[in-house]
Amino acid sequence: MIEVKNLTKKYGSHKAVDDISFVVNDGEILGFLGPNGAGKSTTMNILTGYLSATSGKAVVNGFDVLEHPNQAKKQLGYLPELPPLYLDMTVKEYLNFVYDLKKVSMPRGPHIEEICKLVKIKDVYHRLIKNLSKGYRQRVGIAQALIGNPRVLILDEPTVGLDPKQIIEIRNLVRMLGKTHTVILSSHILSEVQAVCDRVIVINKGRVIADDTPDNLSRNLSDDHSMSVIIDGERKAVESALKNVKGVKSVSYVRPHDKANEFVVEPIMGYDIRRPLFQLVTENNWPILQLKSNELTLEDIFLRLTDETIDTSNLERSLKARKEVSVKAEDIIFETEEKEDAE
């Protein structure tokens, strides 16, 4: 378990990490998501004791990183952004060095062999790290983090610079490790976080702006819930019928598509209008040619966050507000459903 409380790191007047708090439970895979320079690596470096925080504290399995650094570090395996490899060593020498460095008590031979098998570096075991490809170096870096079988793994962009096949392999490996370890993984590849992590924390400009499951995030992070729909029917009739669908806030006409017409329908927050919409069009025998959510994908949101020209403070505020609203909306739906049942 990792607890981070009000962590702040200042470089001069620049706040790299600004009052971050979160908890990672045992056996959880947490994804750190954020643009470059958002403070992901800094947070990880503080967690692992490489940097010291300006204020706040980080506790790993009950050991404060600052007060009991050695015990805390024993709980940790860390793969920094750039794997800390000695290029003049062979993989064998390197892993043995890390083994000595971490004062591991497990039997040396079998332990290292098991790790090599796990990350698939057995065939380069006797080669100089200098001569290894990026993918192999990354794997040696992961192997290094696994030595001593630490309970917490902190992986800073573990798949960066790998080819697609290797990326999938590493993701599978992380998912597998997540069953027995607590993992924090940072990435700016959203699909990766979505594929691997149980929970995602989005960091921007040193602050946590979202903390949720990947699915909830893609739903809640979006500030546009409208749907674009193309219906084969007479414009006026369809438009007025759409306005009467339960949960619809507004309808606007976009343009004609041959005989059909495109509309943008915005639902009231928290309503799913797809079913009533379907009912409406079947009743009137208006074929739906297209129904598409205008919801932002994680990709879109991320791009907006990383875009320096857009002031993200509004988005951040709306994200927070939306989270609260969506919780309330769920209650409302639940209540209305109950009422309907009663009727």
Binding site: G49, L51, N70, D88
Partner: protein, 233 residues
């Protein structure tokens, strides 16, 4: 700590650096030895005395990569996130460098054994020489370790520690130029070469020993502080 010592010692021999340093030390050591030998003396004092200048150039090369390279390759992240203290890390590197240098001292023992075959070298004087040389070199190594921790560039580390050690060495020359009594006194007090000279006469002077040990302790302590401070920057 032993893991760090082992790695650093190995690193000297997996790169050309270690071999080049040893080659230089052995070449000039052997040259001086044969000159002294050919002139009919059986005293290592002359051999080691003329090695001082060579050692000056060699020690900064020996220590330049110890910390600068770690920082440049980001391998310091591994060391600093491992459950070892910064003190153990600094001590490990220092001991590794001193151990490497001791190979040269070992060769000096062989030289003296060769003298032994033909003459009666004074082993007490030799011991003084060796202890003095070891203390003197260790002080330079400690300075080199400290400067290496200040920079990411090996070249800057080498040039920097060369400049500092050369300044400390030549203090007594500077002292003779200045006509102020207290300046001369201070310079003489700090001067490495003057303190090293007493050892070569076979006298074991406790003040000089303490002086060199203090220099080592101070610079290693400063190294620890520099590395620790970086985490707070």
């Amino acid at each position: 700590m032993s893991a760090v010592i082992k790695r650093e010692l190995k690193a000297y021999f997996t790169s050309p650096l270690g071999y080049v340093i040893l080659a230089v030390l052995l070449l000039f050591g052997g040259m001086n030895f044969s000159l002294v030998f050919a002139n009919g003396y059986a005293d290592m004092t002359y051999v080691l005395g003329s090695m001082v200048t060579i050692i000056f150039f060699v020690i900064p090369i020996l220590t330049m990569r110890l910390f600068s390279e770690e920082k440049k390759q980001k391998t310091d992240q591994l060391l600093l996130t491992s459950p070892i203290s910064i003190r153990a890390m600094v001590m490990g590197k220092f001991i590794a460098a001193v151990t490497f240098f001791s190979i040269f001292i070992g060769v000096c023992v062989i030289f003296n054994l060769v003298f032994q075959v033909f003459a009666q070298p004074d082993w007490i004087v030799f011991l003084g020489n060796v202890v003095g040389m070891l203390l003197f070199a260790s002080s330079l190594i400690a300075i080199g370790v400290f400067i290496s921790a200040l920079t990411e560039s090996q070249v800057v580390a080498a040039v920097g520690s060369f400049a500092v050690s050369f300044f400390l060495m030549s203090l007594n020359n500077i002292a003779s130029l200045v006509n102020l009594d207290f300046v001369t006194k201070i310079c003489d007090w700090i001067s490495f070469s003057a303190r090293y000279q007493t050892f070569t006469q076979g006298t074991f002077d406790i003040t000089n020993t303490v002086f060199f040990l203090s220099v080592i302790a101070i610079f290693l302590f400063l190294t620890i502080r520099v590395i620790d401070r970086k985490r707070w920057a």
